[in-house]
């Protein structure tokens, strides 16, 4: 997609980045101790911490990923909103106060509080690193996606910019600046998402998203003996036809020396124009038959029918929030589905008319209904996703470390509630932003992640610039938090506690900063490699790894007296290995390797349903086998309160 770059967008964006860096400089002068670097001195106000929680949590996955997924797949994207928010219930009711009570700087501290075990220190530090890196990938991918329309730069440049700024932020000031960056960003994201939703409702629905919206051509087809031999429009000369998956027929034509692809309609009477990208033998990509600079690759997504009170209309005018959903239910949305035509080196996105009622209930992405051809594995995948989302939140190290930035258990609890209210409100907005993006001609089929910001652009360059800058700050803040968590795992858990390097405060902070630098560089590399994947899907995988590796250990530590250090350590190892291996052999990863999805040995994308119970079983069995080691337990904290 080619975007026009606005000077205002650049100015607002640079102002945001400068403000974030200024804040870091300010707090850098105040951060001298390890407690200051890793836990902001433990004196952040609960209200600030609650919104900072929201800032941490409403990462690229929430704003970019969920909105994009809803825009392309309707309600199934909203399942992520529901699951992400439900996960906070586990955090509030089960994890928040004990975590605050047990830990010092990191999640490993809390897990190890009863045992002083080297095995826990090592495995929990590795788990923190792996979960954080899984979480870092989508943030960096989102950053790259953002700068393409905002600054007109290539994807990889965006990844490098974010990586560099974040390394600078973390290496200068640690958790204090990260907290305030998250607070400001979290608050702004919620405020401006509300404004964007008001724009969407005020705009209502229209069949014509704008004067520049591309009108897709439909032409007649000439068939002889069930074979396509030509078109009814002499302007389009038939060249070839290809059948994909035994059910979709795509036709290549020539219009004035430029290729134009069509899809044969279901009743085989017409050809419907598609969007397409062809990769030539020399690697050059043609967008709708022409170089990218010709700007012939359009933004899409529109309504083909709007029904209000049983009457078809061209537009609705302003709608209330519930009226918006019921009108969507009675209308028809034109989505764009992707198919690869490998024999022609071409990827097409064809018009897929979808009843509005299917946009506002589950089933378009996660096939769970028999009528959509769901297999038992499809259903298992759905349950596995919902399980990982529910159990993953309270096992995310960068979320858990935020409990150490407040002064008391009461403050930890209150900040969690502020977070739930703020995050819950935002997630309700995601449904409107996603559905709004699906029908206003703003979708970039190459990247679902930009649906939210591009919808903002539809309403004006001002709100687009602000929303994009906030989204960029979102990535900055979340990546900062993840890198603080990772550097804590390396410097505090591994070097100081596991290797027993006996570092003083100053050396501990220095080690943390060096670790932040290393993790930051690695994150940049991964962000470039994973370009093009939906960030919410990627975060879903991070949740699976976190829920498998960390949550069984946390819950059993808190609620089962027979839990041993070896049980925890083996459970963490099992959780990490099983979830990561299953992800690497999943259909989506096989597609990423360039292999057939159907060839993947593990038939579902979300591993939680296998890896979480497996980690629990290993924890219980190993703990029961190593009961004699429990005699050395340091304290049985939850009975001596």
């Amino acid at each position: 997609m080619i975007y026009n770059v606005s000077i205002w967008a650049i100015i607002i964006f640079l102002t945001f980045v400068a403000a974030v860096l200024g804040l870091s400089f300010y707090f850098a002068r105040k951060t001298k101790s390890a407690a200051g670097y890793y836990a902001a001195g433990g004196n952040i106000h609960w209200g600030v911490n609650g919104i900072a929680f929201a800032g941490d949590y409403l990462s690229a996955a929430s704003f970019l990923g969920i909105c994009g997924m809803i825009a392309y797949s309707g309600y199934d994207g909203f399942l992520y909103s529901i699951g992400y928010l439900a996960g906070w219930v586990v955090a509030l009711f089960i994890v928040a106060e004990p975590m605050k009570r047990l830990g010092k700087y990191t999640f490993t501290d809390a897990l190890d509080a009863r045992f002083n075990s080297k095995a826990i220190k090592l495995t929990a530090a590795i788990s923190t690193l792996i979960v954080s890196i899984f979480y870092l990938i989508p943030q960096m991918v989102g950053a790259g996606d953002l700068v393409v329309p905002l600054l007109g730069l290539p994807h990889w440049v965006g990844v490098v910019i974010v990586g560099s700024i974040v390394i600078f932020i973390v290496a200068t000031a640690g958790m204090t600046s990260t907290t305030y960056v998250q607070f400001i960003k979290g608050a702004l994201l919620i405020i401006f998402s509300t404004i964007l939703t008001i724009y969407i409702l005020n705009n209502g629905f229209t069949l014509n998203p704008g004067k520049d919206y591309h009108k897709f051509t439909t032409i007649g087809v000439v068939l002889e003996d069930q074979k396509i031999t030509g078109t009814t429009d002499p302007g389009y000369v038939f060249k070839e036809s290809f059948t994909v998956d035994n059910s979709y027929t795509f036709v290549k034509t020539d219009k004035g020396g430029v290729d134009q692809w069509f899809k044969l309609s279901k009743d085989s009477t017409t050809l419907e124009e598609v969007l397409f990208i062809t990769t030539l033998e020399n690697g050059t990509k043609l967008y709708n038959g022409e170089p990218k600079s010709a700007a012939k690759f359009y933004q899409v997504g529109h309504l083909s029918k709007i029904v209000v009170d049983g009457v078809e209309v061209d537009k609705t005018g302003p709608l209330g929030p519930f009226e918006f959903l019921s009108t969507m239910e009675n209308s028809q949305v034109v989505r764009f589905a992707k198919k690869e035509i490998k024999a022609a080196g071409t990827t097409v996105w064809y018009q897929n008319i979808t009843d509005g009622k299917n946009m506002i209930k589950p089933g378009l992405l996660y096939k769970i209904s028999k009528s959509t051809g769901a297999t038992p594995w499809d259903r298992v995948n759905f349950v596995s996703l919902m399980l990982a989302l529910f159990l993953g939140t309270s096992a995310l190290p960068h979320i858990l470390i935020r409990y150490y930035t407040v002064s008391s258990q009461r403050a930890a609890r209150k900040s969690t509630i502020v977070a739930i209210a703020a995050i819950g409100f935002f997630y309700i907005l995601t449904l409107y932003m996603g559905l709004g993006a699906s029908v206003n001609g703003v979708l970039d089929v190459e990247s679902s992640n930009m649906s939210g910001p591009l919808l903002a652009k539809y309403f004006g360059i001002g709100i687009f610039s602000i929303i994009s800058a906030i989204a960029f700050a979102t990535v900055l803040g979340t990546v900062s938090g993840l890198i603080v968590a990772s550097s804590g795992a390396i410097a505090h858990d591994f070097m100081d506690k596991y290797l027993n390097m006996k570092m003083d405060d100053k050396r501990k902070v220095k080690a943390g900063k060096l670790a932040a630098f290393g993790v930051g560089l690695f994150a940049i590399l991964l962000g470039i490699l994973f370009k093009g994947m939906n960030v919410s899907f990627l975060v879903g995988l991070a949740f699976s790894v976190a829920a498998s590796a960390n949550l069984p250990a946390i819950l059993f530590l808190l609620f089962w007296d027979k839990t041993t250090a070896k049980g925890i350590a083996w459970s963490i190892v099992t959780g990490i290995l099983s979830s990561v291996i299953l992800i690497l052999f999943s259909p989506t990863m096989y597609e990423k390797y360039g292999l057939a999805k159907a060839a993947a040995p593990f038939p579902i994308d979300n591993p939680g349903i296998i890896s979480i119970p497996l980690a629990v079983i290993v924890l219980v069995v190993v703990s029961l086998l190593t009961q004699k080691h429990n005699a050395t337990k340091v304290e049985n904290y939850h009975h001596d309160e």
């Binding site: 928010l85 219930v89 506002i360 209930k361 509630i417």
Partner: protein
């Protein structure tokens, strides 16, 4: 051993708060599980209108989010009262 970054006093309400937390967690898990179960067993139900012109997917989905917020406020109010009473 490790200790919190900020010094914490003894909390006499901790075990009562833990019990309340577990009860509320189990309640929410049941409601959340119901949502997943409908999706799994009879997904067509999600399209049924239940309140006005809104289908079950919207009502249940929004309901889960709003319920989490309401339960959070209730939990905090009860915990704060317990702390004030038991930690004098």
């Amino acid at each position: 051993m490790h200790g919190p970054a900020a010094k914490l006093g003894k909390d006499n309400a901790a075990s009562k708060k833990t019990r309340l937390g577990v009860i509320l967690f189990l309640f929410y898990t049941l409601v959340y599980g119901g949502f997943v179960l409908i999706g799994l067993v009879n997904p067509e139900l999600m399209g049924l209108h239940v309140i006005g012109a809104q289908n079950l997917a919207i009502v249940y989905g929004f309901g889960l989010i709003v319920l989490a917020i309401i339960m959070g406020f209730i939990y905090n109010a009860v915990c704060t009262r317990m702390e004030n009473r038991l930690n004098k």
